[in-house]
Amino acid sequence: MAVLAKASAEAIEALWSALPDRPAWTHLRPPEIGMVMVRARAGGAGQRFNMGEMTVTRCVVRLAGGGTGHAYVAGRDGRHAELAALIDALMQIPARRDEVRRSVIDPLAATQAEARARVARRTAATKVDFFTMVRGD
């Protein structure tokens, strides 16, 4: 779910469309835009407090062959929540879990890992290398 939430709707759509045997499905709960109050902690580790809200879209789908999928994803993209719920539903079917993981989750995770690694490399280039000037006589 973390991978699907962080992916774009377009990226999931492309992988979803490429899946063989996509089951028919219906909404149990059509995409709904709402908010989640983001909590933080004083000092990072102390008392909880309400920092501010974020937009979130949720959706629940049911596959024709049975099985439901849930999604809560940041933002206001209904299709994103729908696709995440569909993938979630497929992953609940034991016979399809590995295939969906291989063809949807893994590629998305790899793209996200590469983006993170790039950020890490660019960030690492701004790390300060302190050196001490030795006073000579």
Binding site: M1, Q47, M51, T126
Partner: protein
């Protein structure tokens, strides 16, 4: 007192049409796209999300465009929009120790584990106008070096904690979390409510108060223990699922201020803490917020309250720019009847005054 006055409809309608045209500016200039605001005015977007108290880059960009770049007006628009949405619930507290770091500096330790990582900062720029930006030119590519895999970035406060020289933050899980969007604030306010109000508070107001503490109005000698910027996962437990799911990632900036404390009858001399956090990259705001958070803890720490920044009522009732702007700007509303009665009183007082003076001169 306000009186219903009719007759302004056409003027208002035309004023709004005029506003729309002024907003668009010269049609010969290309219209600005929301993605351009999001990407190229990203710190404005960050501020609007933080003080608008709603994380949504596209909405903040739209608000900035609609408000013609007036960020306080944009914040107002975002606050108004959020009232139209259902709240699904509250997230689990974000864990800033697990942040994907893009910037992390400390002014208290030079060689701290994980190092000083500057990231995208205005610091060390010379604040000279860069005329090359007046033309469209691609910037030089950012440098890349191999990142040390899994290099830990422990919190600076935790390093001091090992010696017991800094107060420990207690999670206090049992306490309910105050929410000023649901319940009116009452005084004295708890720290959770103070932090919520400061997080959405006006940057200018919080900055000035934070500055005042450094100039001696409630002095508590701050050190920037640590400032970090990066992405954190947000986890939420939907009631129908009963287990936490990651719903996305948000960018946050966090500032841990470390302050001197001489100790009191109950507490040993130790360092105390002030905390600041924002959506996006609002570094100045988080530093000022940490100063004010610490100042507002005067009562908890048995310090004498002498300065504005320590005065909870003063700070918390005036830090919200939507409320402040609304009350100041309501002065534009018709006060015709109010003013008529004031005018009457002043005329009467003036007549009395003149009569008295004439009488005295006659004696």
């Amino acid at each position: 007192m306000y009186v219903a006055v009719k007759g302004g409809e056409r003027a208002i309608e035309n004023a709004h049409k005029l506003l729309a045209e002024e907003r668009r500016g010269d049609p010969a200039t290309p219209e600005i796209a929301l993605s351009q605001i999001d990407e190229q005015l990203s710190l404005a977007v960050d501020r609007v999300m933080t003080e608008g108290s709603l994380y949504d880059r596209a909405l903040a960009a739209l608000a900035i465009k609609q408000a013609r770049g007036d960020l306080i007006e944009a914040i107002f628009l975002l606050r108004a929009y959020r009232t139209t949405l259902t709240r699904f619930g509250a997230s689990d507290p974000i864990d800033t120790a697990k942040m994907t770091i893009r910037r992390r500096i400390s002014a208290t330790y030079k060689d701290l584990p994980g190092g000083q990582v500057l990231g995208p900062t205005f610091d060390y720029t010379h604040r000279l106008l860069d005329f090359s930006l007046a033309d469209e030119a691609a910037p030089a590519l950012a440098a890349e070096v191999p990142a040390e895999p899994g290099s830990a970035m422990p919190r600076v406060a935790d390093l001091l904690n090992q010696e017991g020289l800094i107060e420990e933050e207690a999670p206090g899980e049992d306490a309910a979390v105050g929410d000023v969007t649901r319940n009116a604030m009452t005084l004295p306010a708890n720290r959770d409510v103070r932090l919520q109000l400061l997080a959405r508070g006006d940057e200018g107001f919080v900055l000035a108060l934070g500055y005042s503490t450094q100039r001696g109005y409630g002095r508590n000698h701050p050190f920037a223990g640590e400032i970090r910027l990066g992405e954190v996962a947000v986890e939420f437990t939907p009631p129908e699922l009963g287990f936490p799911v990651t719903i996305g990632e948000i960018t946050v900036t966090e500032c841990q201020m470390i302050n001197q404390f001489k100790g009191s009858a109950e507490r040993p001399p130790q360092f105390t803490r002030g905390y600041g956090i924002s959506f996006g990259h609002c570094e100045r705001k988080t530093m000022a917020m940490a100063n004010v958070d610490r100042a507002l803890r005067a009562d908890d720490l048995g310090e004498e309250v002498t300065a504005p920044a320590q005065d909870e009522e003063f700070v918390l009732y005036h830090c919200d720019n939507v409320e402040a702007s609304g009350f100041v700007q309501h002065l534009k509303l018709p006060h015709y009847v109010d003013f008529q009665s004031e005018l009457d009183i002043v005329r009467r007082l003036r007549a009395d005054f003149e009569a008295r003076r004439t009488g005295e001169a006659a004696e």
